[in-house]
């Protein structure tokens, strides 16, 4: 493995990993927030009955 290539690869591994994880968390957070609002409305409808 070449010298500079190794630096690039090492760099990429860490930052792709970190950003990938953050993206994954972000996606799940969005989904859960949406679930929360939907369920919130359902609950309100239920308890109005």
């Amino acid at each position: 493995m070449g010298d500079i290539e190794a630096l690039y690869i090492g760099f990429t591994i860490i930052w792709v990993g970190v950003l990938g994880y953050m993206l994954y968390i972000h996606v799940i957070q969005r989904k859960l927030a949406r679930d929360l609002t939907l369920l919130g409305e359902l609950v309100k409808k239920n308890e109005r009955k």
Binding site: D3, I4, A6, G10, I14, G17, Y21, I25, L36, V43
Partner: protein, 229 residues
């Protein structure tokens, strides 16, 4: 933990600043170290080592969280342990991946079991993956307790394994060129910047992960109120 939203932003900002600082110090400020065969690849050091230390920190948090959970029974300790283990395993994976990348460039050797640091990181990685498998995705109280017990056992086995492998390799030495190196103060500063950067990054990632747990709990609670979907 109920901290204001600005807190998260501050942590992210600090992480960002220090990451930039580390990159600057590693790539631009520090000259190419001609002692090394592959001076460019050597700069991985400024990221590889801090990530390793922060992963140790993360696993220490797993230990603390597990112990506190067993002691007090408060669920949020178990949640902290679980989240920290996830991030710890992620960082440890980085260490295990970047190490051989650097090693291949520098010494043409991807891995050396004789180096106790490598074996310990590997064992650590295995143990906490096992923790994650045990803890699983379910929120059952029992699973959490079992995982906490394993979290404590695993943490104790790491120094034990370290001592054992250290002694073994000193008694049965393999003649391989070792990579010792004295640390100049400038390198030390670069390293310190890296450690600070990744610690802030870890804290930010941890808080985000804990947020997911919170949201999930709320969703589950609402689902139950509707009547078991």
């Amino acid at each position: 933990m109920k901290l204001p939203k600005q807190f998260d932003f501050v942590i992210l900002a600090m992480a960002f600043i220090f990451i930039l600082l580390t990159i600057y110090m590693a790539l631009i400020w520090r000259p190419l170290d001609t002692n090394f065969e592959a001076p460019y690849a050597q700069k991985i050091f400024y990221f590889h080592v801090p990530v390793a230390w922060v992963s140790y920190l993360a696993f220490g948090v797993v230990f603390m969280g597990s112990a506190q959970f067993l002691r007090t029974g408060q669920r949020h300790w178990d949640t902290i342990a679980f989240a920290s283990a996830e991030i710890g395993v992620l960082f440890a994976t980085f260490v295990i991946l970047t190490g051989p990348v650097w090693g291949a460039a520098e010494w043409k050797v991807y891995w050396r079991w004789e180096d106790t640091k490598l074996t310990i990181t590997f064992i650590l990685w295995l143990i906490y993956i096992a923790y994650l498998v045990l803890r699983g995705g379910t929120e059952s109280e029992d699973k959490a307790r079992l995982a906490a017990v394993f979290g404590i056992i695993g943490f104790i086995c790491v120094p034990l394994s370290f001592i054992s492998s250290r002694i073994w390799y000193s008694i049965h030495p393999n003649v391989v060129a070792t990579s010792s190196g004295s640390l100049s103060t400038e390198s030390g500063m670069g390293l310190a910047a890296g450690v600070v950067a990744f610690t802030f990054l870890y804290m930010f990632m941890l808080r985000k992960r804990l947020l997911i747990f919170e949201l999930n709990e709320k969703v589950q609670e609402l689902k139950e109120r509707i009547g078991g979907i």
